[in-house]
């Protein structure tokens, strides 16, 4: 399968326009979703919009559908990470070349999407992160939250040697490799942030950050505040630790020459036989 898509992107890329999917995970966002979907669809770009309705009990799904998006609905609320992953699974099954994810609350400006995709098309990165801290800024972040972001930014730098300032950004664009990783069991659906970046680096994928302006969330409710932020910091630190000790040999092989379609975490244990290949250095991915 990998072989076939390698060929396709290498030989046919020029004839066939890249297929782009914009994934918007949404939970009770009926206020914003219509406007967000409409502004994405209004871009002078061929793309499909997918809203993953994470078990909302308001009219989010109906609003999104009315605005012209494809809608996937979780029958129960599963959390942001799971909703995101559902979108990536959809992208993988429907053979999209690029996936852009953005939040449903309107804080991410769709006008940056073409820029994100250009980076992928130029193959400057496998994942491009829209960052609110690199230079341009239109959005003030609460101090405690900023502290948390700094902590994880430092951790990411420690493990990847790469300086990524906004590790919690939900505005990202990914190519097929990343889509495959995100759709797999390796993706930490609890809350995917800094840990995924480290995992990607260890897998040998390239991450790039793009500075941009962002709107303050209109609904005003941040995902983390007060105690839940502290709990989040502890949880994320543990998740990073797990990411760092994860055996990524299977993944690295899958991205280079294997024909495995689905990355199953279970298979790692089975093939962890050190005789198979000289293992990569444990700490650094590349």
């Amino acid at each position: 399968m990998i072989e076939s898509f390698k060929m396709r992107s290498a030989e046919v890329a020029d004839e066939r326009p890249d297929r782009v999917l914009v994934v918007i995970p949404a939970y009770n966002e009926e206020q914003q979703i219509e406007e967000v979907v409409a502004s994405v669809a209004a871009l002078p770009l061929r793309l499909d919009v997918l809203v993953v309705d994470d078990g909302s009990f308001d009219a989010t799904a109906a609003m999104a559908r009315a605005a012209g998006a494809a809608v996937l609905s979780h029958p129960v609320n599963m959390g942001y990470g799971a909703a995101l992953q559902t979108g990536y699974k959809y992208a993988q099954r429907n053979d999209y070349d690029f996936v852009v994810q953005l939040d449903a609350d309107g804080q991410h400006l769709p006008r940056y999407i073409p820029e994100l995709i250009r980076e992928l098309q130029a193959r400057r990165a496998d994942l491009v992160i829209g960052s609110r801290f690199s230079g341009v800024s239109g959005y003030r972040v609460p101090r405690l939250r900023r502290l948390g972001i700094h902590l994880f930014s430092t951790l990411v730098r420690l493990f990847t040697g790469q300086h990524i300032r906004d590790v919690t950004s939900g505005f990202q664009a990914a190519n097929r490799k990343v889509v495959r990783l995100y759709a797999s069991d390796y993706f930490p659906t609890d809350f995917p942030d800094a840990d995924v970046l480290i995992l990607m680096h260890r897998t040998g994928l390239l991450i790039k950050e793009l500075p941009m302006e962002m709107k303050a969330s209109v609904t005003g409710q941040s995902m983390h505040s007060g105690l839940s932020l502290i709990y989040y910091i502890v949880k994320m630190s543990l998740s990073i630790f797990i990411t760092v000790i994860t055996d990524v040999r299977i993944l690295r092989r899958a991205f280079h020459d294997s024909d495995a379609t689905n990355l199953r975490r279970d298979s790692v244990a089975r093939s962890a036989d050190p005789g198979l290949e000289p293992g990569p250095p444990e700490t650094d991915g590349r």
């Binding site: 609905s73 992953q85 559902t86 699974k89 959809y90 099954r93």
Partner: protein, 94 residues
């Protein structure tokens, strides 16, 4: 899974009956681990057992919720496919 847990609880009740009926055994155990009173022995083993059981449940629950997540995602994807194909059929027959 239900049978596994039944066996576990039957065994546990057996142990409880054994310990209440045969006090000498409890005293023997206490001497073995150096406990002064038999109650200590009961508490120690009881606590160890409960902790182990809880860890086991955590592992089980995590795996179950992972599977649950996969199923919910699959369901959302399938439902979308279903609606799409029904809609296409409707368009074809018109």
């Amino acid at each position: 899974m239900a049978v596994d847990y039944s066996i576990l609880w039957v065994l546990i009740s057996g142990v409880i009956v054994l310990l209440s009926a045969w006090y000498g055994f409890l005293e023997f155990l206490s001497r073995l681990i150096g406990a002064v009173t038999p109650t200590t022995t009961l508490f120690i083993f009881g606590t160890i057992f409960l902790i182990a059981l809880n860890i086991h449940y955590s592992v089980r629950l995590s795996e179950l919720s992972r599977r649950n997540k996969v199923l919910v995602q699959e369901m959302a994807l399938l439902r979308h496919d279903l609606t799409e194909s029904v809609r296409h059929k409707g368009e074809d027959s018109r």
